[in-house]
């Protein structure tokens, strides 16, 4: 599966299906600080992603202190 990451924007490839939470763990990304979008649809942590899916891992943390 192709996985789009942000900050900086880049794409990585994984083979084999896995859950959203496992993908985030493998990428060492916080579940509280990211959302995962599969083929344009938001999906929960226990959704299983397949080889042909287009995935975006979107960070949600932003902003300065003001």
């Amino acid at each position: 599966m192709k996985v789009l990451l942000r900050n900086p924007r880049r794409e990585v490839e994984f083979s084999g299906s896995r859950s959203v939470n496992r993908l985030l763990d493998e990428l060492q990304l916080s579940r509280e600080a990211h959302l995962v979008i599969c083929n344009g649809t938001l999906v929960p942590g226990d959704a299983v992603l397949g080889d042909d899916d287009q995935i975006e891992v979107r960070p949600v943390i932003s902003g300065g202190a003001t």
């Binding site: 990451l5 942000r6 900050n7 900086p8 924007r9 299906s17 859950s19 959203v20 990304l29 916080s30 579940r31 509280e32 600080a33 990211h34 959302l35 979008i37 599969c38 083929n39 649809t41 938001l42 999906v43 929960p44 942590g45 226990d46 959704a47 299983v48 992603l49 397949g50 899916d53 979107r58 960070p59 949600v60 943390i61 932003s62 902003g63 300065g64 202190a65 003001t66």
Partner: protein, 321 residues
């Protein structure tokens, strides 16, 4: 996708998000219902404003400001937006585009100010010229210009998109320093006083993850990239620390911040009133200040006289994931 995940707690449809702090999953429709209820509860609980008030929303083009504007308009409030072009290179160009498209598509009123065009400086130049941390120069400029626009435009309340994560991170920092005056003022609504307009934060009961999800399920395009100057700042490191705690103790952020509001803030109320006293009118612009010339006028004077500084010159730390 080979298999969908859990079902929505409310309707049993396929869920789009898991929210461990609620120990539940929600579909798109019931995620929106949860967000609407939390915003309505915050507005009511803290007496933020009524449908008769004219609201000015501080709009950055990011998820939180567009989400709060969307939620307020959907709920029937009179809300215009104000976008400030900060001159942070491509990031500002992109974020302004998202703000304008959101307003245009919904036929909403978006006021705009450009620091370079209207005041002769931008955030990178202000940081370099004054020796301030860029986020400090940015925050000072935004606060002052939002206050002024609200007064000039006859708005009753300035609304910002600060969410639960923002407030918990600020509370964390203020607590680490035991900065009692800042703690006393860290409230979701500040009344109009001493020449400052009323300010309200309707998203304080919702996390940034919930706000990003709101935008996704509502089809709101927003600037996803992080501000290149904010990357690596202390505020973000506090958020990461709190998220590490949240991972093992779901609900910890809400308990920390909302518990502060319920049990600690009332004890500090007198301190807040005392700290707000003794303000003068700035001799140049008339805005409230503790001295003769306000910090914003001093910043404009210094930054306006400085050669423009490209954003790359104030990127002192590397980008982060």
């Amino acid at each position: 996708m080979t298999a969908v995940g859990s079902k929505c707690r409310v309707c049993k449809a396929p869920a789009v998000i898991d929210l461990p702090r609620h120990n539940a999953h929600f579909c798109a429709e019931h995620l929106q219902q949860l967000c609407r209820r939390q915003v309505a509860k915050a507005i009511d609980e803290f007496d933020m404003f009524t449908p008769d008030d004219r609201l000015l929303v501080a709009v950055s083009g990011g998820k939180d400001s567009l989400a709060v504007w969307d939620l307020l308009i959907e709920a029937g409030y009179q809300a215009d937006g104000l976008y400030i072009g900060l001159g942070i290179g491509e990031y500002s160009t992109d974020s302004g585009g998202y703000a304008r498209r959101f307003a245009d598509e919904r036929n909403l009123t978006l006021l705009t100010i450009d620091l370079r065009d209207d005041y002769g400086y931008d955030v990178p130049t202000a940081a370099k010229a004054t020796g301030r941390v860029p986020c400090s120069a940015c925050g000072l400029s935004k606060r002052r210009l939002f206050d002024q626009a609200a007064r000039d435009g006859g708005y009753d309340v300035v609304v910002t998109g600060h969410n639960l994560d923002d407030e918990a991170a600020v509370l964390f920092g203020n607590t680490l320093r035991w900065d009692v005056d800042y703690l006393a003022r860290q409230l979701p609504v500040l009344p109009a006083a001493n020449g400052f307009p009323k300010k309200a934060k309707p998203l304080v009961r919702l996390t940034e993850r919930e706000m990003a999800a709101w935008c996704l399920v509502r089809g709101i395009d927003y600037v996803v990239e992080e501000c290149p100057i904010a990357a690596g700042n202390r505020h973000l490191s506090y958020k990461e620390s709190l998220n590490a705690i949240e991972a093992t103790s779901p609900g910890a952020k809400a308990s920390f911040y909302l518990g502060f509001l319920e049990r600690m803030a009332p004890l500090l109320a007198g301190r807040s009133a005392a700290a707000a006293g003794d303000l003068n009118d700035c001799t140049r612009c008339g805005a409230p200040t503790t001295g003769d010339v306000c910090a914003f006028c001093r910043l404009v004077e210094k930054a306006g006289a400085h050669d423009p500084v490209p954003v790359e010159m104030v990127l002192t730390r590397g980008r982060r994931r």
